[in-house]
Symmetry: C2
Subunit: 271 residues, 2 copies
């Protein structure tokens, strides 16, 4: 070890980084899932489309606000957002997905090469934001404890379509001890711009979900005895609808590799 090497013990852990420090790591080419990074700061989903698709996406989100809470929309061609001072939306997400006609063509760490002057970016709320509040209230996050991604399911419920955008509601599921379902509902209801209250609790079949052990996205999660499956509207919904409608070009974040904003999770709590 030389005098210039920072001792390992002093290196900030991911949860201790500021959002600006984290974005700088990703801008320089670092890449990591962001769960647990920059504690108490708001992470968001990214959807980037050509300007002539922007109205359809925005209207789809207005008509389906529980799965699609829009937290910011950029000017065409701009790679700045009001949610993160100095951020560059072309480089500061740790991993992107590039889509052509609904087909995944690349998973790069920046999108400078494919950026266009007509692109509009939507930043959409993410359930990480209310998970922290649930954890603070003593509600176990089974998937976190099990080191897995949250389980997500395509339901049989159609979203209200908008222009070329249409698709089924996607939900995330968290097993919650039966006597805490009320608390989980109350706390997430206080955060309507990050999916709000659950849309359903108890009966997967009522949502058209046949087997909880086989999620459509993410990982299966083991429930504990006495847990009830609780379903929240999921930010994957607009992404799935967009891919199904096959725009000629689109960029999204890679699942779990979110944009970390300067906003605080508490900014999205009503009380």
């Amino acid at each position: 070890m030389t005098a210039h090497t920072r001792p390992e013990a002093l290196t900030p852990r991911p949860e201790e980084l500021t959002p600006q420090e984290a974005r700088e790591i990703f801008r320089k080419g670092g890449s990591s899932p962001t769960a647990g990074w920059c504690a108490s700061h708001t992470q968001v989903n990214l959807i980037t489309v050509p300007a002539d698709w922007a109205y359809d996406v925005l209207l789809f989100c207005q008509r389906n606000p529980k799965p699609c809470p829009v937290l910011d929309v950029t000017e065409p061609g701009s790679f700045s957002t009001a949610l993160a001072a100095g951020a560059d939306l072309r480089t500061d997400v740790p991993r992107y997905r590039v889509w052509e006609h609904g087909r995944l063509v690349d998973e790069p760490c920046d999108v400078i090469d494919v950026w266009r002057k007509d692109l509009v970016t939507f930043l959409i709320g993410c359930s990480f934001t209310f998970e922290a509040a649930l954890t603070d209230a003593g509600i176990p996050m089974r998937h976190v404890d099990q080191g897995r991604n949250v389980a997500m399911y395509r339901t049989s419920r159609q979203c209200r379509p908008a222009g070329r955008m249409r698709g089924r509601l996607v939900v995330s599921m968290r097993p919650v001890p039966a006597d805490l379902v009320g608390v989980a509902t109350r706390i997430s209801a206080m955060m309507p711009s990050v999916h709000g209250s659950p849309i359903h609790a108890g009966d997967p079949g009522a949502l058209g979900i046949e087997d909880l052990a086989r999620p459509d996205f993410g990982d299966p999660v083991d429930a504990q005895p006495g847990d009830v499956p609780v379903f929240w509207a999921c930010g994957v919904t607009p992404q799935a609808a967009l891919m199904a409608s096959r725009p000629p070009f689109a960029i999204t974040h890679a699942p779990g590799y979110m944009l970390i904003t300067d906003a605080r999770d508490t900014d999205y709590r009503l009380v």
Copy 2:
């Protein structure tokens, strides 16, 4: 009185009408301010613009959600809304305003003659919705008691612009007894899609309001000793921004002559 005449005493009072009955009265040419009509049903602001202005309006609303809570957006040319079964948006508002290049050109009771196939209508939440909840909680509505329209003021705060839409935040003011400001805040905070919590309480000067006795819209309202002026973001904001941006053509409702929907005020309460 003939056998066919319904006795006056049995005629439903406006607050007892169903929304469908009220809309039918207006469709047939009746016209009245709608304050107090169809108790517990949600009344909304109407803004109708050519489709090529729709993205700017929708984005302005997304960027300024407290003054501009969008409850529905129609398909181009459609005069139906998901909020009111069977309603005709060209006839069911009791009085309209027709605008050309930002100038008021007519105040008709229907807009069938000027309707166009490229028109998109925005229905925007209204403070009538939270006023009922405040009244239920024992908070006096001074302007209602005084038989006046609510007092509205243009503030010095700029909204976040979107495309051609820009303008200052408009607020409504209600004098609230000092020991009830907390209750008024808590209850309205639970209704984020109808303006939510107040944006300010106490100091008109901090909002650039010079004289509470001279509102920019509505009527001056007399405060009682011990009242504090409480300010909520107001649905006049998007209308004022639209008029200032002078679209070639637009339709709005006339102030106080709202569309009465089938939705219930309680639909917009989180808890």
